[in-house]
Every structure is written in C-alpha cells, then in structure tokens.
Symmetry: C2
Subunit: 192 residues, 2 copies
C-alpha cells in the first residue's frame, strides 16, 4: 500500500527501514469512488493527499459558471489544494476523483509531528513545495506568453497518458483554452 | 553583521553556537548602493539574498512600458526572484536597491552544501518557501477579488513604514492600481 509513496520519497531522501516503517504509520489509506470529493469550495483541505491509484482534478467555477482546472493529479502526485492545507483556510476549489482512487493521507498536525520524528521529511517537503512554487509560477507565466500548442505538449510531458483518462474539457481548462481549440491542436499534432 | 539573519533563523529553528558560527561562513556580506541592480531581466538570479539593511524592489515592464512591482523587500526579508534562483533560469525581473543596502548572499551550490552540513536549514527554508507559496497565491487571489483599500492596509501591515521609503508608484504598482487611485485611498485613510 505504501510502496509508491516510499519510492517517491526515495527520489529525494533515503530512509532507514525503521524510519520507513515508522513513516507509514502516519499515513492513512483511504478509498474514493469516482466522482467523490476530497474537498469542496469553502471547506478546509485538511489532509495532505498522496495519490496511490486513480486520478483527481482540482477546479473552480467562475461567476459565469465556467470551469477552471488548477491541477490534475494521478499516481505519485500530491493532490488537492496546498494553500488551504498550509493555511487551514477554506479552499477555493473542488477536488474530485475522476476515477476510483486510493490515496494516503496525513493531517497538518500529523505532518508537524512527523517533521519532528523524522527530520529528513523537512527536506522532502522543502523540495515538494519548491516544485509547487515553480509550477505555479510557470503556469502564471505560460498563461501570459507561451502558445497553446506548446503548453499542451508540456502538459503531455508532465502527465503522460493523462489526456486519455480525463475528459477533454478538463485538459482544455487546465491549459486555459476552449475545448474546440484543443481539438484543433490535437488534430494538428496527429497529422505531424 | 549576521545578527539579523541569525535572529530571523531563530524564529523557526534553534541553532547551537557552533552551528551558528559555521552557518555565517556560508553567507557573504555585500553592499549595494542605491539604484544598483541585484539582477536584471534575462540574468540568472544566482544568489539567495537576505536584506540586512536597506530596501530592494523586484519589478518588470510590460510591453507598454508599464512597471509591475512583484516584491518589496526590506530588513529581514529575502529579496529577489526565488523562481530564477531555484530553477537557475533567466529572471523576468529587475531587482534594484532603492536605498544604500547591505545584504548576505549564498549561491545555490552553497545552499545545497549548507543543507547537508546543517540539516536544520531544510526546515527553515521549507517554511520560507511555504510562506512564499502562500504569499504568491494570496497576491493572485487579491488581485482578483479584494478591494484596493483592503490590499493597501494589508500591505502596510506586512511592510510597516515601507510606504515612506519607496516612491508611491512602486506601492501602487505592487497593489495593481494607478498612483492617482492610491493617493485617493491615502487621503481617505488620513481622514479616518
């Protein structure tokens, strides 16, 4: 159950067998059926959530009812709303499972204890949060400058195969373009 | 010279005297005259920079030549472009000293060694980067929703006294409003 998490951790830190065994007791496995919510707008995102199997989409609606996708997370990613988790303020997002999914969860208090118990986890999450920071900045900049085709190709690179697992409107919204425009981009790429 | 940095560190971690002494050898003091650049657009922001004295403004110009202020950093803040530092990609910003300033700098390679030498620094920078993440998200959300008056009051709370030290157009740009509008807000607040 914890294999994928441990292999993800091992990319950044090396834990002893004892530390790994202790660590797993901090993470609670949980199952989410397709279309279940990890979190709804206005709720606090209370558990940091590592995706072991399945796929989650983080999104909001604007005042015109248009969907805005902020994140897609499949196996090996941390899903949900980091901002709400870190600040324990209500989330601006829905976090919904788009497949039957299993996850590993840890509360903020649990994580604070884990940092004291296994200080190497400071390094792991320092790197994870750095990456989240980098990715948020790149999304802001990409939305302003890069052509949609390039953004789509970078999306495919970051999330291999995911475009077959979530509906086209999710991918389009993530890229900040209309679904019809994404269709055209896909056709262009297929012809290459 | 390193007192302010050490007191800032002590908010988040406690270092032994030996660790503190070792740490200071990693940070190089440097002086920047008013109007000097820590970094220009297209350059890599190579040194994480802690402000010991003075004040720096991080900004860019859009294609119409309009200034956009991304950050104001005075004593006790980390100045500059975290994104460029973390990725070692060229910066989209100018980072300019708005007063005669002294800073403490550490390179990316130096910081990686420091993490191994004093692992407690992982915790410190995990928290610093978390805060940067939170603040970037709040700026994005504030730009979309909060009234300018509230944003200005939050700015004054976050940076006490700074509005007397940088020109009004810097503060206005940071808040994403026109300088004339900021003038009106200031007058309103003064009348309260």
């Amino acid at each position: 159950m914890h294999d994928l998490l441990l292999s993800h951790l091992s990319k950044h830190i090396s834990l002893s067998d004892e530390e790994a065994a202790k660590l797993t007791t901090y993470f609670e496995p949980k199952v989410f059926k397709k279309k279940a919510y990890l979190c709804r707008v206005g709720e606090i995102f209370r558990e940091a959530t590592f995706v072991d199997q399945g796929c989650f989409v983080t999104y909001s609606f604007d005042k015109n009812g248009k969907t805005h996708v902020a994140q897609v997370a499949s196996e090996g990613w941390w899903a949900g709303d980091i901002y709400s988790f870190l600040t324990q303020k209500p989330s601006d997002y829905f976090v919904e499972s788009f497949e039957n999914s299993t996850v590993l969860q840890i509360s903020k208090a649990g994580l604070e204890t884990l940092y004291l118990e296994i200080p190497k986890m400071e390094r792991y999450f320092r790197i994870i949060i750095q990456n989240a920071y980098i990715s948020m900045r790149e999304r802001m900049m990409a939305a302003m400058s890069k052509p949609a085709m390039q953004r789509y190709m970078e999306f495919l690179e970051a999330y291999p195969g995911i475009d077959q697992r979530v509906p086209q409107y999710v991918v389009a919204s993530y890229l900040g373009i209309r679904p019809e425009f994404l269709s055209r981009i896909r056709k262009k790429l297929a012809r290459r």
